[in-house]
């Protein structure tokens, strides 16, 4: 009896899952396994793939390759995550105060969510321009000098991070705002009666209650930051220089130099990195959530 029921349940379950899982197998899992397989081959798309065992991985980790630099660059872009969360939280908090004219502010802050990455990258490409860009104009009016935001390897990561925070904080603002709206006012009223000021209320009530939101935004932020590609490609016209991160290298090796095997191996290392960081973040936030 039990097995019959389990079988029936299995049939029903997988029937519901069918449309989703067919797509999953065909367009996600299949290609992923394919790319994992290919990472053990040397394949330039034209000739037959040649099995080279772990040579791609060895090459990646060898002394001459710049994989560690690209790795470091990818890690640098993680700075975007706390920045965009902090900005978003601040803006959402202000919006939550429901000042007069909030409606207009809301429109301004939420719109970048729907913007396509490419026009935004084009616009920012000009803003960060060395000669005539707005940012340099602003700096010069403060008495500073010009910085080649997109060409100087020392500064390019900062320039691109600035743009990424600008665009990414909009989505985080929407989420934080909705979360803040969900916190009942009574909690604050009770705290005020107890004599707590705004600052204490923020750290004692707001922040702990936002833990699930921090968690969600943190994970999606990390995943997004490690895969930051379009802005870099568009703004530097394909020559990333100091912003050359792992995913850019995956793209470059795959589509410019047609070394699909090596690119797949790199992609898998990147995936491991994302996975590990997400798992760490998960563990850390879980702990503090339990504590709260």
């Amino acid at each position: 009896m039990k097995t019959k029921r389990t079988l029936r349940h299995a049939l029903i379950g997988y029937a519901f899952l069918l449309p989703s899982i067919v797509g999953f197998l065909l367009f996600t899992l299949g290609p992923i396994l394919f790319s994992f397989l290919i990472s053990f081959f040397d394949w330039d798309l034209f000739s037959h793939p040649v099995f080279i065992d772990t040579a791609n991985y060895e090459r990646m980790l060898s002394a001459g390759s710049r994989t560690w630099d690209y790795f470091a660059n990818s890690l640098f872009f993680l700075i975007i995550v706390p920045c965009q969360m902090a900005v978003a939280l601040a803006v959402a908090y202000l919006l939550n105060e429901d000042l007069k004219g909030s409606l207009i502010f809301k429109v301004i802050f939420f719109i970048p969510v729907v913007l396509s990455a490419i026009p935004v990258a084009i616009i920012w490409g000009y803003l960060l321009d060395t000669e005539n860009g707005l940012l340099n104009g602003f700096l010069m009016s403060l008495g500073g000098g010009r910085i080649a935001w997109l060409y100087d390897s020392a500064w390019i990561k900062w320039g691109i991070s600035l743009m990424a925070v600008w665009q990414g904080s909009a989505f985080s603002t929407v989420i934080y705002y909705a979360a803040l709206q969900g916190i009942p006012d009574q909690l604050y009223e009770v705290a005020t009666l107890d004599g707590a000021n705004r600052w204490r209320q923020f750290w004692g009530i707001t922040m702990p209650l936002l833990t699930p939101t921090h968690f969600f935004l943190g994970i999606t932020g990390v995943i997004g930051a490690l895969q930051l590609f379009a802005p870099i490609y568009v703004m530097t016209h394909g020559t990333a220089g100091g912003a050359h991160n792992l995913i850019f290298e995956v793209y470059w090796k795959a589509y410019q130099e047609f070394q699909m095997g090596y690119a797949s191996a790199l992609a898998w290392i990147l995936f491991l990195l994302i996975f590990l960081l997400s798992a760490l973040y998960w563990k850390y936030v879980r702990k503090s959530a339990d504590y709260a």
């Binding site: 053990f40 040397d42 040579a55 060395t130 060409y151």
Partner: protein
Amino acid sequence: MAGERTSRTMFIVFGLLFLATAVLFLTLSSETSSQFLVFSTWGTATEVESFQKLIEHYNTTRRPKHRVKLSHGEQNQYTERLLVQAAARSLPDVIHLDRKDLPLFVRKGIIHDLTPILERDSVFSLEGFLPALLPGCQDHGRYYAIPHNFSTMVLYFNKDHFDAEGIPYPDSTWTWDTLLRAAGRLTKTDPHGKIVRYGCLMNIVLTTMIAQNGGRVLNEACDSAVIASPESEGAVQWVVDLSDRHRTSWSILAQNLQWDDMFAGGRLSMIANGRWAAAWYMRSMASGSVDVAPLPRGRYRKGAAVSHMMAISAQSSKQDEAWEFLKFLVSEEGQRMVNRDGANIPALRSVVYSDEFLRHHTTPTMNNRVFLDELPVSVPWPFELGPFVTHYTLQSQLDLALRRIHLGQATTHQSLMIMQENINAAIRAQRHVPAPRPFVGSVLFIVCGVTLALAPLVIRFIRRRRHPDAP
């Protein structure tokens, strides 16, 4: 009750939308490419429109067995897309090609050897084409493409600025020194010391200047980078000095997209650019302000040319029909149909030496002959790629090298050495023939990975067996 009604309405609406979209989705017509002769090209909207008209004309007047259809690729990804299509065996039949890609495509077996077809076709002849364009269509002596059009780099200059300074217009006697002196006089600064008018911009033809000084980016066989030579360094240094030392130009650290706008706005007096800019400059500037001159000469006289050609895919099953269409494309009639915007120069002598080009409606007052005179002494622009490297590899290495130099992070010599090393590494990787290896590391790899992934599940399973009552 109201909730139920809304949910039911919602359900019905969704259901109808779903049905409608499903019907739409299944009936969307998408004609399979086997019914057509596919012709692929890049191009602006105007160029695409011209090609569409040409194709319509061809389809209606020649009534071929397979009608011709256009496939448009975005210019920056054109080569990469063709390579992916080649790998997936979905190549178009007739391919519009840039000269720089020919050796790579021949090496990968993408395009068809046209020499036997040329020998068989007794009517069609290559004699009508400008002879300077023919070597670019060949690889090891065999023809793989037919010339279509080309563009040469010239020196555009603002006549009003020259008149105001009393400097004679540039001509074929100009050398690098003459240019530098003129640029110095043409550069203007405002009372605060900020430059309001730059004298010249030569960044676009940097690789041509290298050739003019006797240097090369890649060697003759295009299998090794030789850019770290004294001749190349001399040329690069000269261009770098224009901005960094003499302050008559910008470095590449300024967005290169601004240069045209600056020239049209009178904030730049001379710019070395290709034919594609001519029509826009004429339109955007006061009439008669702009004219062209040959590039100044260095140690040698060298020009720069981009040339485009038509090829037939090696995978095509309709090669005879493709050849017929190709002949139409490069014929006088076909050339006239796509030459309306004047962005390129037709490859046929009969068209190019007539008023059709010499008095082209987009540049009537320009000395258009200059474009033609540059061709016989031209080197490929921007690079002669050969079969091993892609354009982006060389371009990005060059950009990185120039950035290092302008930012003072390396001397010209060091920077070009690094560039040479990187390009050689890329070429080595391309030429590397992989040697198969037996399954050793990968098996260990997979076994370890699977063990690590399954370990938590196994442990949990064992724990549950030991303590069946624990939660």
